[in-house]
């Protein structure tokens, strides 16, 4: 029996002291080496995160070498045309490009194109502002000053600005440079640009460009990297996420309440059914997002096209709408919301429920007035997690056919749409480096949006917690 240890046997399994000490040193070294590996794992993960952020920032700002048809600083006096008045802008356009200025007027005129130059201004601008004394003249008889007054009185400042930025300046990016090079090697870059393009191009300017700029956020999408913006995509994302939450939040919380509060009656079948639902939700959480895209394509875009295209309300178009995207996303984030809401509801102490029943409340009164408010911080956290997922998901939207060539902002659930991650995908996939820079700027917008959302989550959690305690 092993209980009695013969001292002579000890030698067979206990090493002598010298051997033990030698072995110990080795064991401790091994421990240190492995510990370095464990620390390195974390460090590598953190470095990857840093590299990712650095890479995005590095591409969003930096020098660009561009050619211009017209030097943007010479357009208005003082240099900054974005700050100029409508009159100054109109005068600049008339001075530099007289015919396009007339086209701007034609675009808002109701008369047919071929009669535009032959009819007097009173006809051309019927119902609009005709400066005094010019009503009988045709547009070709105006002096530049008179044309300026006509343009300034009728064409909006936004249109003038867009025209100047897109067509008049005619900026064409030759090369973009990352931030770090731009900061530390400006001289080399300028020499490089001069050598590379100096012989063949005129009006080259190397300047520091921040691709992420206020106008980038409020400008509509355009096929020109210089003039494009994310407002179309941003609005698309906001619409999609908004409707997704409207659909997924009540259903998700409802399912969680059912599973946590109603699913444990003594009925064997009801119990089995609840188990089935629960297992099913856990499995749905692991289904790749692209599969949801295929589901949405077949069900929402095709089978339910009458509903999702809005044709039952008289809208026109196909099923590739914001509504289809939102419903697909709602199915995608439901498991996230349900699982988190379940945990939040489970964490509410039973004593609260019993106290409520004890006062004669019904089951629903107890849930609505006691359980839900107590579980609200956790439920909201889960919902915001789901929203974050909906904001970042790209694959399902591409599959259900988000269109990328959308240049008007979406205005309702039945609009066709694009979204921020789709735009990032499309811009990244293009070979031109300036689109990479635009994609990087859009990534920053996306990440900031996610950050704001998570900050809201933390704030709401604190708010509800304080409210419960207070």
């Amino acid at each position: 029996m092993a209980t009695v240890i013969d001292s002579s046997d000890n030698k067979s399994f206990m090493p002598d002291e010298a051997a033990f000490k030698r072995g110990l040193a080795g064991r401790q070294t091994r421990g240190r080496v492995w510990q370095i590996f464990f620390v390195a794992s974390i460090v590598i993960a953190l470095l990857a995160l840093l590299a990712l952020f650095f890479n995005v920032v590095n591409s969003s700002f930096g020098l660009v070498a561009s050619t211009f048809q017209v030097d943007p600083d010479s357009i208005v006096e003082g240099g900054d045309f974005a700050a100029a008045s409508t009159e100054e802008l109109a005068a600049a356009i008339v001075r530099l490009r007289e015919n396009p200025a007339k086209v701007l007027v034609r675009d808002i005129s109701a008369v047919p194109t071929n009669e535009f130059t032959t009819r007097p201004l009173n006809d051309v601008l019927a119902g609009r502002t005709v400066p005094e004394g010019l009503g009988e003249l045709t547009i070709n008889e105006l002096t530049p000053e008179q044309l300026t007054s006509v343009v300034a009185a009728n064409v909006s400042r936004d249109v003038l600005l867009t025209y100047i930025a897109d067509d008049l300046v005619g900026e064409d990016v030759l090369e973009t440079f990352p931030l770090i090079d731009s900061l530390f090697n400006r001289g080399t870059i300028e020499a490089f640009v001069l050598e590379e393009f100096g012989g063949e191009e005129e009006n080259i300017e190397v300047y520091f460009r921040s691709w992420l700029r206020p106008s980038f956020i409020v400008t509509k999408q355009s096929s020109d990297p210089i003039a494009t913006g994310v407002s179309t995509a941003l609005l698309g994302t906001v619409w999609i996420v908004g409707i997704t939450v409207l659909v997924a939040f009540p259903i998700g919380v409802g399912a969680a309440i059912y599973l946590e509060e109603y699913s444990t009656p003594n009925n064997k079948w009801a119990n089995r059914f609840a188990r089935l639902v629960e297992t099913n939700i856990r499995n749905l959480a692991g289904v790749p997002s692209i599969i949801y895209g295929l589901l949405g394509l077949a069900i929402f875009v095709r089978a339910l096209v009458d509903i999702t295209s809005g044709s039952f309300l008289g809208f026109e178009g196909n099923g590739r709408t914001i509504l289809s995207a939102s419903l697909t996303m709602a199915l995608l984030v439901l498991p996230v919301i349900i699982i988190n809401a379940q945990e939040a509801i489970r964490a509410v102490p039973p004593s609260i429920r019993e106290a409520s029943y004890g006062l004669g409340a019904t089951k629903w009164q107890t849930i609505w007035r006691q359980v839900l408010p107590a579980g609200m911080p956790g439920i909201l956290t889960g919902t915001i997690l789901g929203m974050s997922r909906a904001i970042g998901e790209t694959a399902p939207l591409v599959v259900i056919g988000a269109s990328t060539a959308i240049f008007v902002d979406p205005n309702g659930p039945f609009s066709s749409f694009t979204a921020l991650p789709i735009q990032i995908y499309q811009w990244t996939a293009r070979p031109q480096p300036e689109f990479r820079a635009v994609a990087a700027a859009a990534i920053i917008v996306l990440l900031v949006l996610l950050l704001l959302l998570n900050a809201t989550a933390i704030f709401l959690r604190q708010y509800f917690r304080r409210k419960l305690q207070g």
């Binding site: 421990g31 510990q35 692209i290 591409v398 995908y425």
Partner: protein
């Protein structure tokens, strides 16, 4: 006292008690249409998730049936043909699966050792304060949208690989870059799940090990890790499942156009070459002009079904392992 009281209970008392009880029951059983309606709605919410699953199975299944019923391809050909070229009427899914396998292997080469290493460090080595800082940072990594990782792979990892291994060896779109970045993306998932499993190992196991003179490393590797093995393996499987289903990274960085598995010009299994995965193919084709009811359209669902089955099996095994071994040490 009690017996005296019991003895003194008269028939009338019992009748009274009965009456009160019956009255209570009637109150309790009074019909409450509002409550019933709400309960019905809640059940509907639960049922909706079952319908989602049924919907997925139905949609993938029926469209895949149309695909196989079209006569363009049979099941054997589907799993053995060396090419996926819809224009040429060749539908062999193996090239797509091989690319998925490649990216997944690369991802796991990064995510498993680093994720497990990070988990062990957080659970066994890191001081409480450091751990409280590091965990949220890892969560940031997990919360970044995958399209951003795709951008990272294409504009950072690929140039890095090309600088290391040479411009001629590494093509612009390559499997290795996509796989490695995918590994970084999955790392936090594996780290977080493994850390939960390791932290759940009871303290007394560690103390017993220390008491026997084991070093921290020996305790970790020979006592704690085996005890947490089921949870750790479940984490690996979830990681693999995510890698298989991951889309945007491969769509951006791994290249367009399926490789050729065998025969002339076969080019699968080249880590630095381009190859299209199952997910990458679905996204590329559906992003273009796709007419409904075409064989291309149906083929996407056949790929989707294959993908769904793969990930479902992985997730089911993972859940089985977690449930089966959950209470082994409690």
């Amino acid at each position: 006292m009690a017996t005296q009281y019991e003895a003194g209970v008269s028939r009338r008392d019992i009748a009274n008690i009965r009456a009160t009880r019956d009255a209570k029951t009637t109150i309790f059983k009074r019909a409450r249409p509002g409550e019933t309606a709400i309960q019905t709605f809640l059940i509907f919410c639960g049922v909706l998730s079952v319908f989602t699953t049924l919907g997925i199975v139905y949609v993938l299944g029926s469209e895949a049936l149309l695909f196989f019923g079209s006569g363009a391809v049979d099941l054997v050909e589907f799993f053995t043909a060396p090419r996926w070229q819809p224009q040429a009427g060749e539908f062999g899914i193996m090239p797509l699966i091989s690319a998925t396998l490649m990216t997944t292997i690369f991802a796991m080469l990064v995510a498993i050792p680093l994720g497990l290493g990070a988990a062990i460090y957080l659970a066994e080595y890191a001081p409480e304060r450091l751990r409280a800082t590091l965990k949220p940072i890892l969560e940031i990594l997990a919360g970044i949208p995958t399209v951003v990782y795709g951008y990272f792979a294409l504009t950072f990892m690929t140039p890095l690989l090309r600088a290391i291994f040479g411009q001629n060896t590494v093509s612009i779109y390559n499997v290795a870059s996509a796989g490695l970045v995918m590994g970084i993306m999955i790392l936090p998932t594996i780290a977080s799940m493994s850390e939960d499993a390791i932290s759940a190992v009871p303290r007394n196991l560690r103390e017993a090990s220390y008491g026997l003179g084991a070093t921290r490393l020996e305790t970790t590797l020979k006592v704690v890790l085996p005890a947490a093995l089921s949870g750790v393996i479940a984490a690996f499987l979830v990681g693999i499942s995510r890698a298989v289903g991951e889309t945007m990274i491969v769509a951006l960085a791994a290249g367009a156009g399926p490789c050729i598995l065998y025969g002339a010009n076969s080019n699968c299994f080249q880590p630095f070459g381009a190859a299209e995965t199952m997910t990458g193919h679905i996204v590329r084709i559906s992003g273009g002009d796709l007419s409904y009811n075409s064989i291309d359209y149906n083929s996407l669902f056949a790929i989707g079904l294959t993908l769904f089955v793969f990930t479902l099996i992985l997730n089911l095994i993972s859940r089985y392992i977690t449930n089966r071994f959950r209470e082994a040490y409690q």
